[in-house]
């Protein structure tokens, strides 16, 4: 019996739950100096002068550096096709561009001394006009980057057509887009800026030994860090060892290299001693990349009998002060534009802009939740407009099971799906008819507490970035197995899941499988962990490497037993190979490993999937909305998710739980806000409404398993589905509760004041 598909408890948990992991801040690093960055309190200002004299002579201070000291080329924009003038200096040079921009680095013997001295760096700022509102940034005479002469990072489709990324006919709206539509609904939708808030904040530590650098950092992609470091410091990759020790979450925000982290080795080299930087939670809120931050203008057209025909989405993407991956998110939004629906006529535009705010990055879902939120909200608005049950509109327009592989009008090819089944299942599990009856009863009674039922059917793309991932398996002389993986788990449970894959192939017990990850000296190549890619890339590589090890062992056993390899069977229960029908003539893994000589019993695989996969599902949320206070209580979250074949349903469920919480939090609670001068007003966890267990119901989760043909495991990614599906379901539930009061839409987060204002505004119209 295979161990795959079993709810195996996570091997890594006892450590995290008892003695704790070892994070960058915990590493012993003899003689390390501590780095603290001085950050701008202004959103946009010219730096008249920086006086570091007092700081330099403060107790324990080793050095103070400003932008003029750093002899590195500025960092180019992190987004492809971005306006090349929007570069980021390592420390501000002449201008600061957001609250939190780095102005100086103070290095001291202790962290306390560095913090004290950082208050003695005096910066004379000349305030400049600010650009905060992304819509206003498009045509503005104030530029975040004066050298660029514009705040526009790029426009889709125009700038993508000009570089050959999109065909010329994509440049303009198709004529007669909404022809044939009885009804066209339009809505401006804000997909607000959120802060990723990983439990572990950013940290980096560096040690130079001659020309060799060891760099510890809390990252999702250590091999990419190795590449960046080698490039930045002009050394070969073999001279750099990048290590991601235990990492306390990332959510996409720890994919790229930040100047805070990459400056640490520069400081360490300059001072010829190890150096370490660990940010505070306050710094993390200000300067760890933010997510989402789209303003969307959506138009959806169809017939009165519920058939969707045409969809248009115009996005303004806030990229923050230094455009990075955030600017590029709308390309993912475009890929997933039409969701689970067969809508044949579409048009998508984007203007990514720079503003005087913290840069935006990938955040759990990264561009796809924005697509799902838009289409799912619009389907509900359309359903309300034509007076049809939103479940019925969804059902009528879903891509049918006989259509796969299905290519959407924006050119994305979905591998396989069973969309309507997830809708049926969630409606049944939730008791949809009874819920609607209760809603009608409450509407009739007219009390303050009304019921809302929100649906969301989603499909999303996982492992969306082409490339291969590394995995190797080796059977050691003591009969244990060692795995090396290019994925870099930071909460996902790869150690357990990869052990299952090996145990399934080799028959070696899960506890006898060791998984090495996150160290570029131990793992030769790797891409890392993001975009829900790990199982279907790195997991498959490990699985295939294990298969190859079994083949090698079989041949070796055949030699030793003087038999034909085809006659050799692996007895997984007893962990030995024997001749078919003759169990007594056998070789154990230990014997084979010892007999394998210098070559060893090992295999390496770089698995490149032929394409991405597309998990899907339907979520239903029941919310009670207090129409007097605007307060919302989530009563139920019911989720049906299909991520293909599940290797460990317990881990998959954990991913769904976390995703549901984070997605519901965006819909209901979280927003990173700046005032009109660019001051962050939600810069700590008291003001930023990070969700807690008390605001969430017990989740009702169901899984379906439609295997994908894309990889031999049949597995898709599950890391982001929960976030993608739950956000619109919660928002739709809140809006649904208010529908009878004449409210058409409430932007996220659906906070009490927003709900109350929407009700008041609707009263005014009546």
């Amino acid at each position: 019996m295979s161990i795959l598909g079993n709810r195996v408890l996570r091997k890594e948990d006892p450590k995290f739950l008892t003695t704790g992991g070892t994070y960058v801040d915990d590493l012993p690093l003899e003689g390390a100096a501590h780095v603290v960055y001085v950050r701008s309190p202004m959103a946009h200002a010219r730096i008249r002068s920086i006086d570091t004299s007092e700081a330099v002579s403060a107790p324990g201070v080793v050095a103070v550096y400003t932008g003029d000291d750093v002899d590195l080329e500025p960092m180019p924009p992190g987004a492809p096709f971005a306006n090349p003038a929007m570069v980021r200096p390592w420390l501000a040079k002449g201008v600061v561009r957001f609250v939190g921009d780095m102005v100086a680095a103070v290095v001291a013997e202790t962290r306390e001394q560095a913090v004290d001295a950082s208050e003695l760096v005096f910066v004379d700022y000349e305030p400049l006009a600010v650009v905060i509102d992304p819509e206003a940034a498009v045509d503005n005479e104030t530029f975040v980057h004066e050298e660029a002469g514009t705040n526009v990072v790029f426009r889709i489709p125009e700038d993508f057509v000009s570089v050959g990324m999109a065909p010329p006919e994509a440049a303009t709206e198709p004529p007669g887009l909404f022809e044939g539509c009885d009804v066209v609904v339009r809505q401006r939708i804000v997909n607000q800026r959120v802060a990723p808030c990983p439990l572990e904040v950013r940290a980096a530590a560096s040690l130079w030994e001659g020309d060799h650098l060891t760099h510890w950092t809390t990252t999702q992609a250590p091999h990419a860090v190795r590449g960046s470091l080698a490039q930045t410091f002009g050394v070969g990759e073999e001279q750099v060892r990048a290590i991601a020790p235990d990492v306390g979450g990332g959510f996409g925000a720890k994919i790229g290299g930040y100047p805070e982290e990459l400056l640490v080795p520069w400081i360490a080299r300059r001072l010829d001693r190890p150096a370490r930087w660990v940010e505070t939670r306050s710094e993390s809120m200000l300067s760890l990349g933010h997510g989402r931050a789209q303003i969307q203008h959506a138009e959806l057209g169809g017939t009165r009998d519920g058939r969707l025909i045409a969809y248009k989405l115009g996005v303004i993407q806030d990229s923050g002060a230094y455009p990075g991956f955030g600017a590029f998110l709308p390309t993912m939004t475009q890929m997933m534009l039409t969701g689970v629906y067969d809508i044949t006529k579409v048009f998508f535009t984007d203007i990514s802009v720079a503003t005087n705010t913290n840069p935006t990055v990938a955040y759990r879902g990264a561009g796809r939740p924005e697509a799902t939120a838009a289409i799912e909200r619009m389907v509900d608005i359309f359903a309300a407009e034509i007076g049809m049950d939103p479940a019925e509109v969804r059902r009528k327009n879903m891509v049918g099971n006989d259509r796969f592989p299905f290519t959407t009008p924006t050119g994305t090819t979905y591998d396989v799906g069973n969309y309507e089944a997830t809708l049926d299942r969630v409606l049944e599990a939730a008791g949809y008819a009874e819920l609607r009856a209760e809603q009608r009863r409450r509407r009739g009674a007219g009390g303050p507490k009304q019921l809302g039922i929100g649906l969301s059917s989603y499909v999303e793309i996982t492992n969306g970035i082409p490339g291969s991932e590394f995995g190797s398996v080796e059977v050691l002389a003591d009969g244990r197995a060692r795995v090396r993986t290019g994925t870099s788990p930071h909460g996902q449970g790869h150690v357990t899941a990869w052990s299952q894959l090996v145990a399934d192939q080799l028959g070696i017990a899960i506890e006898d499988v060791e998984v090495l990850h996150g160290d570029t000296d131990l793992v030769p190549r790797g891409v890392g962990t993001f975009g829900s890619k790990s199982l279907q890339s790195g997991g498959v590589a490990v699985f295939q490497a294990a298969e190859q090890v079994v083949d090698k062992a079989r041949k070796l056993a055949a030699d030793l037993l003087e038999a034909n390899p085809n006659d050799i069977e692996l007895d997984k229960t007893n962990r030995r190979f024997h001749v078919a029908g003759t169990p007594s003539a056998s070789k154990t893994w230990v014997e084979l490993a010892q007999a394998s000589g210098d070559e060893g019993l090992s295999a390496e695989v770089d698995f490149a999937a032929p394409g991405p996969t597309f998990p899907f599902g339907s979520h239903l949320v029941v919310a009670e909305v207090d129409t007097e206070t605007g307060g919302v209580v989530l009563e139920r979250i019911v989720a049906v998710d299909d991520a293909g074949r599940l290797i460990n349903p317990l881990i998959a469920e954990g991913q769904v739980h976390g995703g549901l919480a984070q997605g519901a939090a965006q819909a209901l609670m979280e927003e990173m806000c700046y005032d009109d001068q660019g001051n962050p007003v939600t810069a700590n966890l008291a003001d930023y409404e990070f969700v807690s267990a008390a605001e969430l119901p017990s989740f009702e989760t169901y899984s379906m398993e439609t295997p994908t043909p894309i990889n031999p495991l049949g597995a898709k990614g599950i890391g982001e589905s929960g976030t993608i599906g739950s956000t619109p379901a919660v928002q739709n539930a809140v809006c649904d509760a208010l529908l009878a009061l004449g409210v058409r839409h409430v932007d996220m987060p659906t906070s009490p004041i927003r709900v109350w204002r929407a009700i008041e505004a609707a009263k005014g119209k009546k």
Binding site: R111, E112, V115, D116, E119, T280, R281, S282, E628, T629, G631, M669, C673, V681, T682, A686, D687, E689, V691, S692, A694, E695, S751, P752, I753, W756, R757
Partner: protein, 273 residues
């Protein structure tokens, strides 16, 4: 997140604490549960040069039945007050409110004295003591002084205590005729966006509001209307009279006035009025 440097004193008795304050004056801050002071110090918004740690003075942790009223030691932690049988019996409002503060960690560390002396208009206990018509007892170099709750809260984070005084005891009348605390929050552990406290004491109805101005306030107009025979619904309509509520990320002044009316109506109903 690292406070500026400071000296630390841990007096062995209340009298020693009073002496320490007299010695250091307004350079010193009392440390009790630390749940208001330490975050401010970590953000360097507060930089006292001396911390006088009274957190372990067991003599100030008690809930006593004092005949017509309850006497509560200033260092009684929220968790203990919430679960104290004497408090539950004679001042169920106070016990209930203590259980609605923050989260379990806060309730196990934070003290009633610290919460009241900090005089945060968004805190729960100050409004409860106001609604009950309580009295605060302070010890200074010249001995004990009683301050009516109505005169205690003087401005934003500003109380009637002098820098040399230690708040030692909170006295509230026994009140078991009905009470309510309507605390409106987005998250369980948050400060109230607005809160409304109702206490029924000796035939009188006390109503106080949380987070609607620089100090916790009595809803005078509501109390007067009720005393004059108005219905609860009519009286609640007056809850926002005279308020100048703050604006923040969660609410505008207008929304706070609205919430004050809605929550007061609900609190009055819940208190059986």
């Amino acid at each position: 997140m690292i406070p500026a440097s400071f000296d630390y004193v841990r007096p062995g008795s209340l009298d020693e604490a009073v002496s320490a304050l007299a010695e250091h004056g307004d350079e010193a801050k009392l440390l009790a549960g630390g749940h208001s002071l330490l975050p401010l110090m970590k953000l360097r918004l507060a930089t006292p040069s001396v911390l006088v740690d009274i957190g372990r003075l067991g003599e100030l942790s008690y809930v006593n039945d004092a005949g017509d009223h309850l006497a509560i030691g200033a260092l009684t932690r929220h968790h203990d007050l919430h679960h104290d049988p004497v408090a539950m019996h004679h001042a169920p409002l106070l016990s209930f409110v203590a259980g609605r503060i923050g989260d379990p960690q806060v309730r196990h560390r934070g003290t009633i004295g610290g919460s009241i002396a900090h005089a945060d208009p968004a805190s729960d206990l100050p409004a409860a003591v106001l609604a009950l018509g309580g009295t605060l007892v302070a010890r200074g170099p010249g001995g004990d002084r009683e301050i009516p709750a109505d005169r205690f809260f003087q401005g934003f984070l500003e109380s009637a205590l002098t820098p040399e005084e230690v708040l030692t005891e909170i006295r509230v009348p026994k009140a078991t005729a009905g009470h309510a605390y309507q605390k409106f929050v987005r998250r369980a552990q948050d400060w109230a966006i607005v809160g409304s406290v109702v206490a029924r004491v000796d035939g009188r109805v006390g109503v106080a509001l949380v987070n609607v101005g620089p100090t916790p306030v009595r809803a005078d107009a509501v109390e007067t209307a009720l005393a004059g025979g108005a219905s609860a619904a009519e009286a609640a309509e007056l809850a926002a009279e005279g308020l100048e509520p703050p604006a923040d990320n969660n609410a505008t002044p207008e929304f706070r006035r609205h919430l004050a009316r809605v929550l007061t109506a609900r609190a009055l109903a819940e208190a059986g009025l």
